[in-house]
Amino acid sequence: MTTTEQATGTANGIGTSPRRPDGTGKVRGEFAYSSDLWHEDMLWGATLRSPHPYARIKGIDLTEAVAVQGVYAVLTHEDVPGVNRYGLEHADQPVLAVDVVRYQGEPVALVAADHPETARRAMKRIKVEYEVLEPVTDVVKAVSGEGARLHPGGNIVRHVPIRHGNPNATAEVVVTGSYEVGMQDQAFLGPESGLAIPAEDGGVDLFVATQWLHVDQRQIVAALGLPEEKVRLTLGGVGGAFGGREDLSIQVHACLLALRTGKPVKMVYNREESFYGHVHRHPATLHYEHGADRDGRLVYVKARIYLDGGAYASSTPAVVANAATLGVGPYDVPNVSIDCWGTYTNNPPCGAMRGFGAVQAGFAYESQMDRLAEACGLDPVEVRLRNAMSEGSVLPTGQVVDSAAPVAELLRRLTAKPLPPAPLEERDLRTLPGGVSNTTHGEGVVRGVGYAVGIKNVCFSEGFDDYSTARVRLEVVGGEPAATVQTAACEVGQGLVTVLQQIVRSELGVERVTILPMDTTIGNAGSTSASRQTYVTGGAVRAACLAVREALGPLSPYELGDKVLDETVEWRHRPTETLDPETGAGNAHVQYGFAAHRAVVDVDVDLGLVKVVQLDCAQDVGKALNPQAVLGQIQGGSAQGLGLAVMEEIQTRDGKIRNPSFTDYLIPTVLDMPPMSIDVLELADPHAPYGLRGVGEPPTISSTPAIVAAIRAATGQALTRVPVRPEHITGT
């Protein structure tokens, strides 16, 4: 890859790959994750959850639980002092269930005890009497109004229509397809956890792993009935997020227990509870019709997309908007008619996960492009090149793409890469489908190659006031200039702390840059999601540096003397617009990211086992602020796409999760991930700080359909559902 060094007065600025400031602590085991926190005299909190996807609560008897020795508190909804409703976009979810539970795993009661085992035993002694109700589990039926009404407004959370061009357009070549995407889990490794410490002022200090401190704080103060200044949040070390920490988990519960008992309370979910304790990727049902001329040029796309949001809304409205507005993919399509729904059901709640909405649509539209190629007798890459969007293209929302959109270039980069050599006669078992299970020595193994490309909006959309706050302080310490940066932007593993240091080094020419702990003593930074933090908080830190530089005037940082420069800046990207409720028209997004993949797979067609042999990627990142971290995002995002393609699914039956463990919910291991060859393009977006483009999500979108296309090429099977299971390949 090529990167250009920014002209600066210091090394380790933007465009370089300095070491992470938290790297040494992490490899020594000394970095404090939220689950590592400990306090003298602390208690352990635990959550009693509903075993039923839908039931009426007839009564709760706490008598025996309270009597367990070592138990300090047992709480129900009656103990929630404030508003017993919270939610990211709609406050529709109770902190503790009142009269109804709407999903298996919904919190019903809390226990604080002197040992986690004491808490578990006490929970077993809580008697909840349920009247089990018939759950709503079919997303299409939820849209059509069949079954119980789960919330006062009905079971449709949001419907977004897109109407663009001629709704009655016809075409010479028509391909249709129906697709399904399974429910994927973020499967971050650090479990939901935190420590709440009651304070002398009647408030509480919460140390927690989250993606957005201020939106947590807003929801916590409402539930606790406390003023904002009495609920102070500090980011505990975060063991991955991927969207799964955008909603509350332990936050209010730990604070309730701490305030009730007057003692610090630690809560840590185990892996099984984690599967019930956070939202997942919306499973989707998608019906598509593509019309094109005989040369494969798209005339129209019609689609109906159903996204199952489960019991509570979470970020379903944003997921629906992404799937709808990006529903045709990175292609020029003159006529578009899409309807996209997000629903309430009694399935597990779904919300944000890396690539939210764009991932589900991406699998369907890329599968359709392969069908179109076949119908037109064209190469799959050629049909994509003929329809590839570019700078100046008009999206189905009417929005003009006003920066680089190198879709064709990304695909050409991939076709130019060498393919892996044909397999040897005598192969190492570890390189074969089935691996050391010794299921084949090469017989029945067929190779396939597939391509896909995807589009993702970066930052928050639809008129959201999307901003971040940054404080930069410059002073001379021990004869050397030193800068300190404070934000509330959550470092979840992606390396924001490194990038913020780099920005300050480049802007101020100061090598020593300290990143303060993230907390709510400074203003909102927005969420670590939607590939936005480097853009928005990076932009805010840069703006704060510019303010410091202006205050510095002609002086060099070495000449500050005793003076301390301290500037706080709120920075926002250019505004976006809402979508027209009838047509979906509007300049709703601020930036797009594009990535493309080529997958090479070996498939044991007799057993339906897949080995991804190689997974190559080309992505435009505008400007690689930290090239090593950019590659890390592309590799990690591609791996999650591989997981969705061939193994990852939360399987539900009648609303109940069947596989809440890493034994039964499989994520890729080092044996599943193939080598990757990656091309990083840096085509600056003139509207963004340094020209950068959000990096984290695009590689998760195209990875999945490229792998499935390769399996189709090897097997000839239609494969309309992910994850692809062995029986889909063998047809048995």
Partner: protein, 152 residues
Amino acid sequence: MRLNVTVNGEAKQADDVWEGESLLYVLRERLGLPGSKNACEQGECGSCTVYLDDVPACSCLVAAGQAEGREVRTVEGLADGERLDPVQQSFVDAGAVQCGFCTPGLVVAAHDLLNRVPDPSDEEIREALAGNLCRCTGYEKILDAVRMASTR
């Protein structure tokens, strides 16, 4: 019960240990060594990997009582004072650390591999690390780190 165990070369004692506690729980909550991680607590993710008498093991699957009188070496015991072990340094240098929650287990597993096989092939590295899940990196830079450490 009272547990006597040598951890990172130091004799340790933990009192009032409940019989159902794992070695992982005792290390993290009773001995002040939270470096070994609790990602699955059922032996699937490898994030709690420690040496138990020089053999790597998932400390979540070891009952605390089973460690009585034995020697445990955790990720906290790998560095030589301020100087990182070459495996640790390579993880930092190669960019193999993102969220880092898998890192302690992977560092111990890689450390063990290089003790046994100083110059492993890619297939050997993959096989040795197959019991350690990472959700952030896609493993490419972890492979880079182990290759780098094998040359140091």
